[in-house]
């Protein structure tokens, strides 16, 4: 009787100890910068995942060599999970000292006061890029890289159809004619594939002189006449002339796969496609600046790096972010790896980029910078883009007309999103 009681007592104590050991303190790594020695800052990013982790490591090593008292701890999370994680960490107060954002989410974070102002010498940065992350005169983000969209075309298909290659002063009319000529080459061959999505829509709308919001972003202007013309151009390609495959004809194949299989004449897509197309296309291809209508408008995508207002080392973080975005050392490492383009003002520094082929006409990438159309970024960016993409896709599938799509998008955006 006594022995079993002793056993149960010991077991009870052990169980209690086990419970309390699980609640032990995990030591949060806080580096003391007070002694003036090495300061460690944490940097979280998504853009290097999927192939460029080594490039980022090289940049960190080069930075640490120049600044021996600063160490950078890099964390890389894939794009899909990045924003959900970052949102949770910011809300929970465990965000890193500095991290990366894309242009859409930058507005949400900046407008909610989640970012600290970055100070430093930004003279080396491209003005348009830098202004994209400047809110009310304060620099809340630095453009880390930029990429844009150009028209990529299959030279072999153009030769087959016996038509001239696209030039930088093409308009939508020229584009349509060429697409129809290539479509006629076969049942399975299509002239062009341009995504019918929010991202493409605001750009093509700009090419027709339209916009999704009014000047001071207080009202939606989604169903304006110019926007209708833009949407009609995009959707008629699928529904009327069928130079672009509809969802069924595409059969689940991605647009890139379609182009690489040689069945697509033209595709406006990002310059980040160059590497993949170089490896996989067994036909000749080249690029031009995207055609416009009454004017040209091209995309501008940029990722920025931002600073956490709760950081204990703002000077060190500013030094790292400024170095990462505007130093020639960082730009050289980036260009050598072919990892996007640094947003530098001095385009001569990017000359090595122009020498890589294919494509031959790499100047088009820089020429496109003259016609940048910035995305209309509001706080409820994701909701607006989802609504518009949903309606445009329905119109592309033929379930509603283009006018109905724009009217419904206008109504839903007005109902669900409060502006200004």
């Amino acid at each position: 009787m006594k022995k079993s009681k002793l056993f149960s007592l010991i077991a009870m104590v052990l169980a209690v100890l086990m419970v309390f050991s699980a609640c032990g303190n995990t030591s949060a790594s806080k580096q003391a910068g007070s002694d003036g020695k090495a300061v460690t800052i944490t940097y979280c990013n998504f853009n290097s995942s999927g192939g460029n982790e080594g490039t980022l490591d090289k940049m960190v090593a080069a930075f640490e060599a120049e600044h021996p008292n600063i160490k950078v701890d890099v964390e890389t999370i894939g794009y899909e999970d990045y924003f959900t994680q970052m949102q949770t960490r910011v809300a929970g107060g465990t965000a890193p000292d500095c991290f990366e954002l894309n242009i859409e989410n930058f507005a949400a974070y900046a407008n909610k006061g989640m970012l600290a102002e970055i100070t430093g010498n930004f003279s080396g940065l491209n003005d348009a890029a830098r202004n994209a992350f400047n809110v009310n005169g304060k620099q809340y983000g630095l453009p880390e890289s930029f990429s844009n969209v150009v028209l990529i075309y299959n030279k072999d298909l153009f030769d087959q159809a016996g038509i001239a290659y696209p030039t930088d002063d093409w308009t939508h009319a020229d584009l349509q004619a060429a697409a129809e000529a290539i479509r006629a080459l076969g049942d399975n061959i299509f002239g062009i594939w341009q995504p019918i999505s929010y991202n493409e829509f605001f750009k093509v709308a700009a090419q027709y002189g339209g916009a999704l919001l009014n000047e001071d972003k207080t009202k939606f202007t989604i169903n304006s006449a110019e926007n209708l013309a833009a949407a009609t151009t995009l959707i008629d390609r699928v529904q009327v002339s069928n130079v672009q495959p509809n969802a069924v004809q595409q059969g689940g194949m991605s647009d890139w796969d379609m182009f690489m299989s040689g069945r697509l004449g033209m595709i406006p897509t990002g310059i980040w496609a160059f590497q993949t197309f170089t490896e996989n296309c067994d036909f000749a291809w080249d690029i031009v600046v995207e055609p416009g209508s009454t004017q040209k408008a091209t995309h501008f995508f940029s990722n920025c790096v931002v600073m956490n207002p709760e950081t204990k080392h703002p000077e060190e973080v500013s030094a790292w972010l400024t170095w990462l975005t505007s130093s020639t050392a960082s730009a050289d490492i980036r260009l050598e790896a072919g990892w996007d383009l640094p947003a530098l003002k001095d385009l001569d520094a990017l000359s090595s980029y122009l020498e890589i082929t294919p494509p031959d006409n790499r100047e088009a990438v820089f020429k496109s910078l003259d016609y940048l159309a910035m995305p209309p970024v509001i706080e409820d960016y994701a909701l607006m883009s989802d609504i518009i993409t949903q309606k445009l896709t329905a119109a592309a599938d033929g379930t509603i007309t283009v006018q109905e799509a724009l009217d419904q998008a206008q109504a839903e955006c007005e109902a669900q999103i409060k502006l200004g």
């Binding site: 149960s8 009870m12 169980a15 209690v16 086990m18 419970v19 699980a22 924003f83 959900t84 949102q87 910011v90 809300a91 929970g92 107060g93 949400a108 974070y109 909610k112 989640m114 969802a247 069924v248 004809q249 059969g251 689940g252 706080e379 409820d380 994701a382 909701l383 989802d386 949903q390 309606k391 896709t393 329905a394 599938d397 379930t399 509603i400 109902a415 669900q416």
Partner: protein, 308 residues
């Protein structure tokens, strides 16, 4: 109180004291990871929190409190009722079909045949696959032009519909995939229910000259009603929480035809930065599920026979 009862109570009491540290890990886990988030989510649903501001800020609740504003907003948008309608459409298609298929599976697997063991494994394998993997594969199988399903239908001369790309067929397609995946799980539960039926009932029926169909209708089904009740409740609760299939196969499309409750909650919470709204949405979903479960529980007195 006499000595015997006193000793009995003392033994029970001391048993609880001895057991408490062993119960602590689970209790603490449940408190911290289930009860606490439940309470906090209830509080969040009364705010306009965007999911980014510091939750642990002292003045958080005062700054963001909007009372029942979120609930009012949700219940007055047409989007909520459309979403509820889509979820109801899924439930109405899924639950009966699931019941019939799992009954069929359970009945077939209850008959002693030679390779019935292998078949039991085969039917259960879909249950073990991850929803993500299954959704991706089925997405390509359901492709209208190049998918296997329409290919098979064409062999019989039927032109298959647009499945996930067609507004009218997207939800039935998701129901199909869900039934395929859950059939084994619920079938197994019903199978164990069938196996538990006393063989003497069947012997008595054979003596009375009953055929297979009558035996099924008059013996198997009534004695299976507890298991069927479980399948109905769990199936319905799961159906209300439909999520991975929709996110991967259709993303809520085409044109909002497959936007269901949890998909909306996810988007509002994590993509549109409206966490308070999403929290209120999830509490409304909770209330709806509770109501339907309560109705089911009440109804069980009518039609469930417990074989005592």
């Amino acid at each position: 109180m006499d000595q015997k009862t006193k000793r009995k109570l003392k033994k029970q009491g001391s048993g609880l004291v001895l057991a408490s540290p062993f119960l602590l890990p689970s209790l603490i886990g449940m408190l911290i990871f289930s009860m606490l988030p439940l309470i906090i989510s209830g509080m969040i649903s009364l705010t306009d929190w965007n999911g980014l501001d510091k939750l642990t800020d002292a003045a958080f609740f005062q700054d963001h409190f909007i009372g029942l504003g979120n609930y009012k907003d949700i219940l007055t948008t047409s989007e909520f009722w459309r979403t509820l309608g889509n979820t109801a459409k899924y439930i109405v298609l899924y639950v009966p079909l699931m019941l019939i298929c799992s009954l069929l599976v359970a009945y077939l697997l209850s008959r002693p045949r030679r390779c019935v063991g292998a078949f039991r494994v085969l039917y259960y394998i879909p249950v073990l696959t991850s929803w993500v993997a299954a959704s991706l594969i089925w997405k390509s199988v359901l492709s209208p032009q190049y998918g296997a399903l329409n290919g098979i239908l064409e062999m019989f001369g039927i032109t298959g519909p647009g499945w996930l790309l067609d507004e009218k067929w997207a939800m039935p397609a998701i129901v199909l995939v869900s039934v395929w995946k859950d059939m084994g799980f619920f079938g197994l539960i019903l199978l164990s229910g069938i196996m538990a039926i006393n063989k003497s009932y069947y012997e008595a029926a054979d003596l009375d000259g009953a055929n297979g169909w009558t035996k099924f209708l008059k013996i198997t089904l009534p004695l299976l009603t507890p298991s069927i009740f479980y399948v109905l409740i769990v199936g319905m609760i799961n159906a209300f929480q439909l999520f991975p299939q929709v996110m991967i196969m259709t993303g809520g499309g085409p044109n909002g035809a497959t936007q269901v409750m949890v998909e909306r909650i996810y988007n509002y919470g994590f993509r549109y930065y409206r966490m308070g709204y999403a929290a209120a949405f999830s509490w409304i979903l909770f209330a709806i599920i509770m109501v339907f479960t309560a109705i089911q529980m009440k109804g069980q007195e009518r039609w469930v026979h417990y074989d005592s």
